[in-house]
Symmetry: C2
Subunit: 256 residues, 2 copies
DNA sequence: AGGCGCTTGTGAAGACGTGCACAAATCGCG
DNA sequence: CGCGATTTGTGCACGTCTTCACAAGCGCCT
């Protein structure tokens, strides 16, 4: 993962803006907690126990408590966590108190879907620009936004204070687009193209690759099939084997 | 199916489906290697060193060698890996030798994009069915496939031997759809809806959540900002753009 | 006030993943 | 035929993540 270590200075005496140095695994789960908390808030809950929240988020409760303890958030022993307060805390840590502007590059098949997605707005982001290289797409209006040419990126980046770039172009164009984004100061990129991007230090890239997800599922499917071929024990379908085989990082049954 | 016997060394005398028990982290990287290998093959390479392949896949070379050693794949010391052979091996382990049938449930905004995505076909999968609950969508033809009603799932599952279900419905409907998929014997689900699915033991669920990815990026953005704000390095507020382009492409790409 | 039940926060142990560094294996060449 | 160049495969040490288990803290009830 990130190979940089930021030396010390974790003990800021500042009141509010003491940004803790969270484990990456924790950061990846915070959004999940946040979503669960919003659901709970909508359902009228004012407090929630680690047990309840962890169930809603699909994780182990001890893990949740440790995660929350990392960001210094306080629950109340014997009671649980204040839902509204916790939402506020997590949103602050994730930097969602400011609505970040997103530039979406590549308004094709997938780009159209993303452009019309309301999950951006409801989860703390704002699509500020739609960009494409194809002249025939430039000018098209989607969801109130007009597609502009990718060459206008420098101007747009300034206009809109773009914080995050989303790449939804074919793989062949992705590196070039990434370079353009980096050139205008974007330091966070979400890449949907199936390729590795090379970016300067300090720029974060996350990748979403549908085919990879399917192939991982395929592996487990394959393994499950090769296992059911072997065991000669009981004929029952599923043996409720306790504490047995490992649960992977994919969510498995939420039994118990 | 067809497995390659290797001369000498650890020839496992076992039967065919001796699938090694790969670390989950390795499984998650194999598809990445596979994609890189296909690129190399298309470019005419017949062999590749761990150094070369790892660079193409954006990982550490030692990690790559360890990953490959886990699946018992053989390279040749002093030479590298045979590209074609390695492709075959990885595809076998991932269970891609059979083209798995995918059922896509929820043909809305996102579903349309997925239905038109050629990355399914080119990476070992076949969209076998498009399903929706909205009668006004049923009957629509997309990419040569007709949208059918989700209630037909049981029949379709048999017809097409559905192996994987993809959920692209609103979150409110996702659990119900998951239950329906499980009921017809699907044991692998890819979920695009932002919610936790509860499924019986033995069923694998993977989730893709765009907002989570953005929020993770937001966190790092926030942290980067809070770091450049404090350190009293008299430097200008402008982050000194590295003179040229990326001199060193130390991939900071966030994995997994 | 005191006790009791509930829940948090965390120490410790172990599982897991990573990357270095090097011996072993292989090839090409003189 | 042997030697050096090259590259794999892996032992080992280290860091990260997960999970258990439990003391400490809190509120409520008597
Ligand atoms: N469609 C899906 O469901 C899906 C799913 C997962 C991943 N992906 C990936 O997302 C990417 C886009 O997929 P798609 O189906 O939307 O493809 P698409 O061809 O429909 O759209 C690509 C768009 O990018 C634009 N473009 C090309 N070069 C550009 C450049 N240099 N600058 C700006 N815009 C440029 C094109 O004009 C086009 O509008 C691909 O890499 C694909 O592999 C797609
Ligand atoms: N659009 C995006 O870019 C995007 C990105 C990430 C995640 N998502 C998520 O993907 C899901 C779908 O998003 P969308 O934008 O396509 O929404 P959408 O409303 O456009 O499409 C949802 C489709 O699901 C169908 N549906 C509803 N209930 C169903 C049921 N019980 N069985 C079968 N079909 C049913 C609807 O008829 C509709 O066609 C949502 O959960 C969304 O949060 C969307």
């Amino acid at each position: 993962m990130s190979q940089h270590r930021h030396p010390g200075a974790s003990g800021r005496a500042g009141a509010v803006p003491a940004l803790p140095d969270l484990p990456e695994a924790t950061v990846a789960r915070l959004p999940e907690y946040l979503r669960a908390l919003h659901n709970l808030a909508d359902a009228g809950h004012e407090t929630v126990s680690s047990e309840g929240l962890s169930a809603a988020a699909g994780v182990n409760s001890a893990k949740l408590r440790k995660d929350l303890s990392h960001l210094g958030s306080y629950g109340t022993r014997g009671v649980g966590y204040d839902v509204a307060l916790l939402i506020e805390q997590i949103e602050y840590v994730l930097g969602l108190t400011q609505r970040r502007a997103v530039a979406l590059v590549g308004v094709g098949n997938l780009g159209h879907a993303l452009a019309g997605y309301d999950g951006f707005a409801s989860r703390g982001f704002r699509i500020a620009a739609l960009l494409d290289a194809d002249p025939s797409r430039v000018g098209e209006e989607i969801n109130g936004l007009v597609v502009r040419h990718v060459d206008e990126l420098p101007a747009i980046a300034v206009e809109e204070s773009i914080a995050i770039g989303v790449i939804a172009t074919p793989a062949a164009a992705a590196q070039r687009v990434a370079d353009q984004l980096v050139a205008v100061g974007v330091t966070s990129i979400l890449n949907f193209a199936p390729c590795v991007l090379s970016v300067p230090e300090g720029v974060d890239v996350r990748k979403v690759d549908l085919a990879i997800e399917l192939q991982i599922l395929s592996f487990h499917e394959h393994r499950k099939a090769s296992l059911t071929a072997l065991p000669a024990t009981g004929g029952s379908a599923l043996t409720a084997l306790p504490g047995g085989l490992a649960a992977t990082d994919t969510q498995e049954a939420i039994g118990t």
